[in-house]
Symmetry: C2
Subunit: 377 residues, 2 copies
């Protein structure tokens, strides 16, 4: 660990440069408290099921690479990903409550494991804490983190807590496991494959708009379903079950989670697989709450769906001959599944196919891989 | 991944709260550049030796848990740790150059693997970048990071780059492997064991003082060996070989890296092992450069050694009957090894034994587990 703080006595002027300073003692007490909260949160049985020999409390965690972990069997491979949330960049005090920050920081990482078809197992958490976050706020953040961990069966095996001069930064690393050689990558989409989504998109972006739009009050009184939009933004549900179903079918040729937005994720698959993805506007799953809210606010529901992001559903491609059966299998599990387009040969990219107003002919437009620009429409 | 930025159009006033804003487009270009630098840095042979099936470039890295990794054989366990460096808290533009930040962020993590007796294998890197860090500075940071990775045989398998409103934050997660059941923990020290250090301490703290002390100029002109102190602070050398030698002997009962300072690390071993560590002041390895600099500046060399930290040598305990042979074995490998005290039964804690001025009798004093308070003596 490196917990070393530069502890200067107040403002020190060196040459012409002045810089401010942290003191160590008070912060250390707070960090000791955080270690206290995190210690013993998981039962030893929970840790054992995930191969954890040593969790939080030594220089490093120790993990037994068992062949049977959390329900997986046979030769496994490990999955690892890191994701970071920065105050004022990814959230602020209006858009996220303290517990949501912890919950979502882990959920976004779990989604990366889901997007490989794997089972999430462990997480390591780095939190840089500004003085404005007192112990109560940090406790709520950790409560949210552990709520997500328990929901998805993830053992938190390591952490580092440091001071931060002004803004909260939460970086989470997550591990998972997948059957050896069976991770679902971005690069296997083939012309003729079907393109699917495992849930509606645009809800999180609409939820963010609800939480931060200046013109929100009047609309809030009128619109229904806002709680669902806000929930989608604050406590997203990573698609672990969907990823496992897709992995088990053996017909899925590429997979991404919708973190940056549908258009951007589709472009990543197209680029990695050297194919074109053709998406049908009329097949995109449109949430009623999202569309109603967009209508009331004069936002484009289509833009929210294409560029919103942070929905953490899965976008992928699969053998066309298995598409109907996959849809049926998802529905039997109570999970949504939408076929939204086809993979084509051609210059890598994404095209949106829209029915013209006459209802008969279709038009095609190339989609940019940009993100949604809130408040710039 | 979660690369979503709240992209407001300039300053948005909501209620009475005003907050500033990032734009997405420019930053994304820069991040694309970072991905470009990090892609293809490691050869496929290098990655293969470390079991890396998929590195940077998908939702998660994929790792094959081979039984023989980087020279290890037999059943293995995995080690994982996370460590964070925050601008103004752990470093600033005077104390660290850009390349040093990347180097040290990884080195501090590798040290956690060394402190378990393991071999470092992989790293995932989260960097939150303020606008003030242009592409050239980021390139230097990544150059330092990869320099450390190559030096210690670590494959960088994942990363996340986000904006930061003001300060640079680098969080690194590292993995390693160790022979199953043979990780060196903090909790095994027994009364009668010898206490050792694998290198001198206090150099990094002295180097930090060189880099940031207001009264530095005159002293700098006089003192020798300052470059070594600065190097110790900026590019510390984690003790992987020492950790492996200790692991292989089978007589090491506890191990920590000296990140927070000798007194603090000794206190951790004492607390985890329920023993008292008695350290002899006259046996503590005192670097000539450090002691000379401390003398010139009126600092206490003993305080720098006890409370300085960030030296990344290893502090541990071992069976007393193997201590002389271990020292000999280290010296044969060209590595330093210092026996500095004994483990005693008693209330957990750390005591310093000092020879009185008459040179004959000894005095004992209990050491606090505090950090070194720069500029407060």
């Amino acid at each position: 660990m490196m917990r070393r703080l530069l502890a200067y006595a107040g403002n020190t002027i060196i040459g012409s440069i002045s810089y401010t300073v942290r003191r160590r003692a008070t912060k250390m007490d707070e960090f000791a408290r955080i270690r206290h909260w995190t210690a013993g949160r998981h039962s030893s049985e929970w840790l054992d099921q995930r191969g954890v020999i040593v969790g939080i409390g030594d220089d490093a965690a120790v993990i037994e690479p068992r062949l049977e972990l959390a329900g997986l069997s046979g030769p496994l491979q490990w999955l690892m990903a890191v994701d970071t949330m920065v105050e004022t960049v990814h959230f602020n005090s209006m858009t996220m409550e303290d517990g949501d920050i912890g919950y979502k920081a882990l959920a976004a990482n779990i989604s990366d494991i889901a997007a490989m078809g794997g089972v999430p197992l462990h997480a390591l958490v780095s939190v840089s804490v500004p003085a404005a976050y007192g112990p109560e706020r940090m406790r709520r953040l950790y409560d949210g983190l552990y709520a997500c961990a328990e929901q998805y069966g993830v053992a938190i095996i390591g952490g580092d807590t440091t001071s931060s001069p002004l803004h909260l930064v939460v970086a989470v690393t997550v591990t998972g496991a997948v059957e050896a050689g069976k991770a679902l990558r971005r690069s296997g989409a083939k012309p003729g494959d079907a393109v699917f989504l495992t849930g509606p998109v645009g809800l999180s972006a609409a939820g963010l708009h609800v939480l931060s739009a200046p013109a929100g009050e009047a609309v809030r009184a009128e619109a229904g379903g806002l709680a669902a939009l806000v929930q989608a933004h604050r406590r997203p549900a990573p698609s672990v079950r969907a990823g496992r179903l897709l992995q088990a079918r053996g017909t899925c040729t590429s997979l991404n989670d919708v973190s940056d937005g549908l258009a951007s994720e589709a472009a990543e698959i197209a680029a990695a697989s050297h194919v074109r993805l053709a998406l049908h506007e009329e097949l995109l799953p449109r949430s009623g709450s999202m569309a109603a809210y967009a209508g009331l606010c004069g936002l484009s529901a289509l833009d929210l769906m294409l560029y919103g992001g942070e929905d953490y559903v899965l976008l992928g491609t699969m053998a066309a001959e298995d598409a109907a059966a996959a849809k049926e299998a998802f529905h039997q599990e109570g999970l949504p599944f939408f076929l939204i387009g086809e993979v084509e040969a051609g210059e890598p990219g994404v095209e949106l196919i829209t029915r013209k107003q006459n209802g008969k002919s279709l038009s095609r437009a190339r989609l940019e891989a940009r993100g949604y620009n809130h408040f710039q429409g």
